[in-house]
Symmetry: C2
């Protein structure tokens, strides 16, 4: 593969309007020598589905068709067992309406607070269509803790993390546990081995 | 217009998997001599959007493209002011997860309980693409009342309805107030005048 192709192969468009997601993903991919370029959603790219996979795949295909360049999309959600998976695939909308406070209220007399965060990353370059998922188990805290991260981070305590919420962790520490870091790491391993990308 | 065309014109496919919606709509259209045929969603037809109009229009266009026959779609939602519009366009998913009980819990210390139900009906026959909306103002009751209707009906009290919830009304009574009946009545008036449909 020529240097020019290498250069192109090392840069992928990450279609997301969420700057925090972008930074977390880039921080994972740096180690593999893969550079992301952020681009906001082009137009209404998402389908209404209860499957993160379907949403992520649909967005990647649609994004590629518009741009004709390799793209990555990610869809993620918080699934609370006691609430039958709520807020799930609509976590972003539900965060913007009832917020962290609303979710805590729904759980205020509930002791079973298990939840998972799940991330699904899709890569599409017109030839390869691949998805990679990552999950992290944890619990919903009884109160907001920390002001780092975004969304429901301040009320999610991942397992084996000394009772800290994602909201109390900086990006590097969150990436040790997070669903997103797991999914992007799987992607990076596949991508760098498939396209022979070497860390710069 | 020939009798045969009349016959075809009098029957429209309503794409919905919700039998209750279908019955309410048919009950409105009966008065206009318009017959609906129910068909479940063909596949993943809905986009993820916070606009009922976009969801309904997209589904109608996609449905027509699959069937090549005149179709109607409807998207509806309950918008609670104190919750920034929640559950809104995701009312159906949120009903299936946290349910009526969850919504009451979110509002349990909130006195401002204003809400609207909104329905958007789209008709598409390959030529005419028309949307019709209907809204009803009301309040979220403090407890569940009645076992009629569906979804959030037992906790929604429309204005000027003697404090009854939709859950306490039969179909005929609900249709005097409902967002859905208003949208379908607008549609029926336009349709019967455009295509010269006479009540049979």
């Amino acid at each position: 593969m020529s240097n020019k192709e290498d250069h192109v192969r090392n840069e992928i468009i990450f279609l997301t309007s969420n700057v925090n997601k972008f930074r977390e993903a880039q921080s994972v991919l740096n180690r593999f020598g893969i550079r992301l370029k952020r681009m906001g959603m082009l137009e209404r790219l998402e389908i209404q589905s209860e499957s993160l996979e379907e949403i992520s795949i649909y967005s990647a295909i649609h994004g590629y068709q518009m741009l004709r360049k390799p793209v990555i999309t990610e869809d993620a959600g918080l699934f609370v067992f006691a609430l039958r998976g709520f807020p799930g695939p609509y976590s972003s909308y539900i965060f913007r309406t009832i917020g962290v406070h609303g979710l805590l209220k729904l759980l205020d007399d509930i002791t079973q607070r298990n939840a998972i965060f799940k991330s699904v990353v899709t890569f599409f370059d017109g030839t390869f269509l691949k998805t990679f998922s990552g999950t992290v188990q944890g619990e919903i805290a009884t109160e907001c803790k920390g002001n780092k991260g975004f969304g429901f981070d301040p009320i999610f305590t991942p397992k084996h993390a000394s009772n800290k919420t994602f909201g109390e962790m900086n990006k590097t520490e969150k990436n040790k546990y997070s669903h997103r870091a797991k999914a992007f790491t799987k992607f990076a391993k596949w991508y760098s081995s498939t396209f022979k990308i070497k860390p710069s």
